[in-house]
Each structure stands twice: as C-alpha cells, then as structure tokens.
Symmetry: C2
Subunit: 408 residues, 2 copies
DNA sequence: CTCATATAGTTCAGGCAATGAACTAATACT
DNA sequence: AGTATTAGTTCATTGCCTGAACTATATGAG
C-alpha cells in the first residue's frame, strides 16, 4: 500500500527551501535597509553592509541586482570624513505605486514614489452612495489611467497599486464583502483593469486598515503597536502589531465599530445590537446632538456640530461625550483581547478629540485600569488622504519585502 | 561625518541570512513532515521527499543529521507494494519534554515523548491559594526531578519543559504578572531550576493558552482557527489562528474574561467593571445559583451545581443561562476584533455546555449575526490535563520547528 | 529459479550564494 | 608628496541543494 503523502507543500506547508531563497531574502534585507534610512539620507554599500550584517562583497552583488531591476539608483557621493566617499543609494523616485480610494463622496488616485514622496494626486467628486460598482470602477479606472499617463510624462513608471474601500474586504479574493455606505454586498472587483499590465497588480484594502498603515509610516519608530480607530459614517479600525497590520484569519480583524457596548441598545446596520457604531458613528452623534444628518452634506453637518460644541450647546456636548465614553469601553475590551494599549484617533474622532478625550480616559480607567496611559491616546498625524497614501505605502512596503517580484 | 547605521540587525531587524539558514529551514521542514504523519505511520525518506518537495538526496542528508541529533529514529520496514521497502522514520520516543502545571489545588508534571505519547504523569495535591511562589516552585522542582529520574530509568531523556500557570505571564521574561488565585503579582520565576541542564530549558505559558494548544493538537486539520475559552475560577482564553497561538504584542492576548459585558455591573478582581468574569466565572455562577463557594471544595460545589441543574432548580438554571448569554456577548465582540468565529468551550464551560448552549447561541445571534454558525460552538476534547499536555506539546512543536537547537 | 520491473536510498558532479582575504580606488590629513 | 583611511571589487573557498547515475531490495511473470 502506498501511503498518501500529507499535502505536498499545500496550504500551511512550508516551501521547499532552496539555496536561491537566501538570495531573495537578502535582496529584501538590503532593500529594506536602504528604505529604512531617513529620507534625504542615502546610505553607501558599506553602510548597508554594516546595517544588515552582510559582507561588503555580498551587498555589492545584491545592490547590482537591485540597480538592474530599477528599484534603487545611485545618487551623488557621500564623504565619510577620511577615505574614499561612498556612493549614495536610494529607492528609485522614477518608480512608483498608485494609491486609490473609493469613498462615499469621491474617488481619488495618487502616484507615490518608492521613496514615499507624493508625485501626483487627483480627487474627483462623485456621489457613490448606493451606486453600482461597475460605473464607479470604470470612473476610477479612467482617473487612474489619466494620472498614470501624467506620471509617465514625467518619466515615472507605475509598478502597481493599492485600492482602499470603506467596507469589509477579502483581499485575497479581491472581493468587497459589504460596504454599507456604498450599498455594496459581495462585490467582486476586477482590480487588474485599474492598472493594466503592471508588474505588481492592485491590492485591496479596507479603508481603516489603509489609514492605519499610513499612520504607521508617519511613526519613525520600529515595532509600533497601536489600534487605529477611524470615525467615519461607520466606525472602522486597524490593528498594527509590531509594525505589521494584523488582519486576522479572514482578513477583517479590527472592526471595533461592532464591539457590543450597549447590550440593550439599538440595532446596527450590521444586524447586531448595541454596537459601538450605533452610538459613536457620525450619524449617531449627529442625531444625538440634535442635528439632522440629511441637512446638507456631511461635512457641513460636522461643521455645525463643531460650532455647537464651541458654543457649548449642552445636547451637542453630551452627545460627543457619550460617544467618547462608549469608545473607551470598546477600547478597554480590545485591550484585553488583543493586548493592545495604545490608540490613535482618526476620522471624526480626531476632529472631536478635545471633547472626547476626558470621557474616553474616564471610561478606559473604569473598564481597563492600568492598560492605557493617557499619553497612549493620540490623534492621527495623517490627514484626509490617509487611506489613499496608506494603500500605496503598503504596496511599496510589500515590494520592499519581496523585490524579486520585479525580476523575471 | 559618519552616518549612524540604523540598528545593526537589532530588534525588528532581520537576520543576516546566510546559506546555512537553508539547511536549518530544511531540517525543520523534514522534521515537521515526519511529525505530521498520523501516529503509527512511519514515513520513509522517499515519502518525506514527496511531502516536502525536496529531493531524495537532500532528504537523505537531512535525515542523517536528525538521526545523529537523536530527534528521530529508524523503525522497521515499510513495504510499498513493489520495489525496495522504505525504512520508517519517527520522532524518537526516547526523547521527551516535560509538561508542568501549577494550579490552585495541585502541582503536576508529565513526561511526553516527542511523538506525543504521555510516558509518565504525576499529580501532587497542594493548596497553593495565597501561597508564596518560592515554596511552590521548590515543590514543583522536586516533583519534576522525581519524574525526570523515573523517565531516565526507562531510558528516556528530557530535553526541556513547559510550565502552565493560571495567570497573566510574560513568557519572554519568565515572569508572572498576576495570578489572582495564587495571590502572585509580578513574580519572577527561576525556570531553569525546574529542569537543570536541559538543552531547551523551560518555557512559560498561561494556563488557558496552554489548554488551547492542547486542543489544537487534538484537531488533526491544519490551519485551525478558534478561540478557546477556559472557565475556571477566572475566565481565561487562548486564541489560535492558523494553528498558531496568537499571544499579542505583550504576550497576553485572548483575555476574554475581562471583556466588558455589563457596563453597569460589579467590580472585577482586575480592577475593571462589568467584566465577563464577574458574571461567568465559577464563583460568580455559584453565588448567582445560591451556592456558597466556600462550602467545601470547588469541585464539590460544582457537583452541587450540576445536581441542581439536573433537578431544574430555577435559580441554578437562571444563573448558568445568564453566564451563557454574557459569554455570547463577549464572543460576539471578539469575533469583530480578531475576526474569529469558532469557539471551543473548556473548563466549567465544557461541563455546563448543555445548559449554556441555547442562551449562548441566542446571544451570539443577537450581537454578531452571521458570525458563529451553531456547529462552530464546540466542547473541548482535552480533559483536565489540557494545560499540562498543551505546554509540553508546544515545546515539542517549537523543537520540531527549530531542530538545529539540539546540534552544537 | 530467473529475469524484468519498480521503488528506496546513496554517490557524485554541477551550480548558486555567501564569505573572507586580497586588491584597487578615492579621499583627507600631515 | 606620502600615509592613513574608507569604499568598493575580484577571487578562491565553503556549504548546500539539485539532478542524474548508481546500488540495494523488493514483487511478479514465465
């Protein structure tokens, strides 16, 4: 009897592991070292050797491959005091990645150089509320093509892209499971159509996750660990552990908006009851503050809310404080489950932070004493375009971690 | 000016990546393949080659190293129908790992062969409630030495061990942060004293995490993802994602016992308010059921509770149902945050499952509709000694994943 | 009983990648 | 101008995997 071999290198089974893997791994190591130097500082081969632990000889050979692939370039000379000056190395600014975003009120695209500089950005207002997916994607594809050709005119090649969408996504299958504000359910996206013929293709991200990644890039320190909570129409979240996005087994962890905070509360768009979103989402706050959300655009309503807060209108203040208190409760539970005790407030939580902070800290102290120090509650440093830039940045990072994907 | 190199292979920095790494990785690959064959089935070198994708030549060479290290052995012949029969390979049963546990009422130690068979097990009753750590560890060290010499008499060598403790631990620093039922706070453990002179040393585990690992070993399928909730005096939890324990950035994720489920509820031993533990911990259930927890031992009280449930005493039934309902609420939140929708009930939750199940499912359906299918709520297959065996099993697995640690 | 066939496992030349030492290149200090 | 110093390259060596050839050991047919 021939025994059936248990899953020949199948799912979960490690790869064969050959000698060529070493080169791939070291290629990434070298490129990563170059990328991690502060912007404006261009390390020499010798410095890269020092940073990676590889020998100068190995680094020279690896750098040659990276130059051939066009991922990095030599730039200027680097006087080291004595001795022969090193030639500076940097990620190639003429290679780029496109960040894209579909949101309720607009679509947008940006070209980001591998070194992180934003080369082009274009936003197109568009009402995507309850819009079908096909026309939205077609419009985005047109926008992307336009921006891409503008980049090409500058001699910049787009290697791939990342798309951020406000909803639950399955990145592996290029599928949007649900995006309540777009009215999408189980939508398969033809991502390759957005950037045809690129080496890396287009990756799909949840909006809050992408914004969390943007926040991560803004923090220079390695090994960052935090929870990014994004207050939008819904309440999204992204978990970053040790500078890695934690997406969970199914790809959509971090959905703090649907933690139960009010067991006897109202129904949620997700079908649940008493979710954080029902008390701390934009519409929930607006309604509690006595502002009808359908009067004018959302940003207008938000301005009205801010004005009411400035004027200390009791109903508005109470509404926001209530949201902060419940947010704290959700964060307390999150701290226990994923062992995180640092939070970054994004979206409307960032805007409302002055009024949110006190009740939030009070609530954290009550429900998770000793977990969140006050200085661990911070406001996002990335602005409105966080998701856009985060998506692009993440694709850049995945390229840096696997540069061999560019070499045939 | 010499630029300061950014962290030469420091924390977060990848290893140099040499050619020898390939061998280490493939050593683990081969050993893992041998380990993953069902117990009783001893694969030949050729079968291992098929399973791993390596060539027969490589496997032969790697197997030789593993034989030299004593991790595996050849056993019998394996007729394949036609042709020369293969020689069977298996994890060496004469090499073992010791699982150890400190709990409220006992200490225990077990010797588990690399192939997973329990060779020896010894439990020593001991009241560790509010006991100092030093005498408890001394008693455990004596027990371990005894069991270890008994193993040696059978020709079995103990390579290392794992210790499970009912409390929050920092595995990296061999530290128990808090173990309420033992009365321990910030206790540093001298783990090496438990098994002096072993190659692998002793690893530290949270009890619920260890039990989760034991549960994992019982499930043959790869890529298991579930939340193990352990009902003991406290309520612990262990998160397994893709057959890996998820411990979080600080090493103590999965503490579902302290998710907030009753915002206006009572104080918890952790200092928080309305934690799951305050309504679903053993003592909480006992009190709610009208059974004084200090009357006799806990197991006696549990028997009384079960009898009351059998007799359908309303107060007891309500108490357990309430616990189940709140447990469901905590699981609903967990599903959102870590994207898990499969739960294994352990400890008293396993015992009480017949009465818990209905309210638990009702609660899950209300707070996280569509996340947990009914068949995803299961009862633990591992018994009382889960933590003990899980700790040992995890150490065995870490050895399988890095066998080069045995070769100087 | 013998030979063809099939499978297991070993041996060996070839290739790839990192290493370390020797070497060339380019700068600053004296 | 000469020396010290640092950057980067060249080359022989080593280690490991691969693939092909080879040996070893079984089954089944005539």
């Amino acid at each position: 009897m021939v025994m059936p071999a248990p899953a020949a290198a199948g799912p979960g089974g490690a790869a064969p592991g050959s000698v060529g893997d070493v080169r791939r791994s070291n290629l990434a190591l070298v490129l990563g070292a170059i990328a991690e130097f502060p912007p404006g500082i261009h390390p020499s081969r010798a410095q890269v050797a020092g940073a990676t632990g590889l020998t100068k000889a190995s680094v020279s050979s690896l750098v040659l491959d990276l130059l051939d692939a066009g991922v990095i370039r030599e730039i200027g000379l680097n006087p080291q005091g004595r001795g022969r000056p090193g030639v500076g190395l940097e990620l190639s600014p003429s290679r780029s990645v496109m960040g894209m975003e579909i949101n309720v009120d607009y679509i947008s695209a940006a070209v980001v150089g591998l070194s992180g500089t934003v080369l082009l950005r274009q936003v197109e207002e568009r009402d995507n509320r309850n819009s079908m997916d096909k026309p939205v994607l077609a419009a985005l594809a047109a926008l992307a093509a336009e921006v891409r050709s503008a980049a090409r005119d500058q001699g910049v090649e787009v290697l791939g892209g990342g798309l951020a969408v406000p909803g639950l996504v399955d990145p592996a299958r290029a599928r949007v499971l649900t995006a309540p504000n777009l009215g999408w359910v189980d939508v398969d996206l033809d991502l390759d159509a957005l950037l045809p013929g690129t080496a890396l293709g287009v990756a799909l991200f949840n909006e809050a996750n992408a914004a969390a990644l943007a926040e991560l890039r803004h923090r220079a320190d390695r090994g960052s660990t935090f929870l990014f909570v994004s207050g939008e129409v819904g309440v999204g979240g992204g978990i970053v552990i040790g500078s890695e996005l934690f997406t969970g087994p199914g790809g959509h962890a971090g959905e703090v908006g649907h933690i139960v905070v009010d067991p006897d509360g109202g129904h949620c768009s997700c079908g649940g009851t008493g979710c954080l979103e029902t008390v701390a989402g934009q519409d929930a706050i607006f309604i509690a503050a006595g502002l009808a959300p359908d009067v004018g655009s959302r940003s207008a309503t938000m301005s009205a809310l801010l004005q009411a807060l400035e004027s200390r209108v009791p109903q508005a203040v109470t509404a926001v404080e209530r949201a902060g208190y419940f947010l704290g409760m959700a964060l307390a539970s999150t701290a226990r489950v994923v062992d995180i005790d640092s939070v970054v407030l994004g979206g409307h939580f960032a805007v409302l932070e002055p009024w949110l902070r006190a009740p939030l800290l009070e609530s954290l102290h009550k429900y998770a004493p000793g977990k969140y120090a006050s200085e661990q509650v911070t406001v996002s440093a990335v602005g409105e375009f966080g998701a856009l830039l985060g998506a692009a940045g993440s694709v850049i990072r995945s390229l840096v971690e696997a540069p061999h994907r560019l070499q045939p």
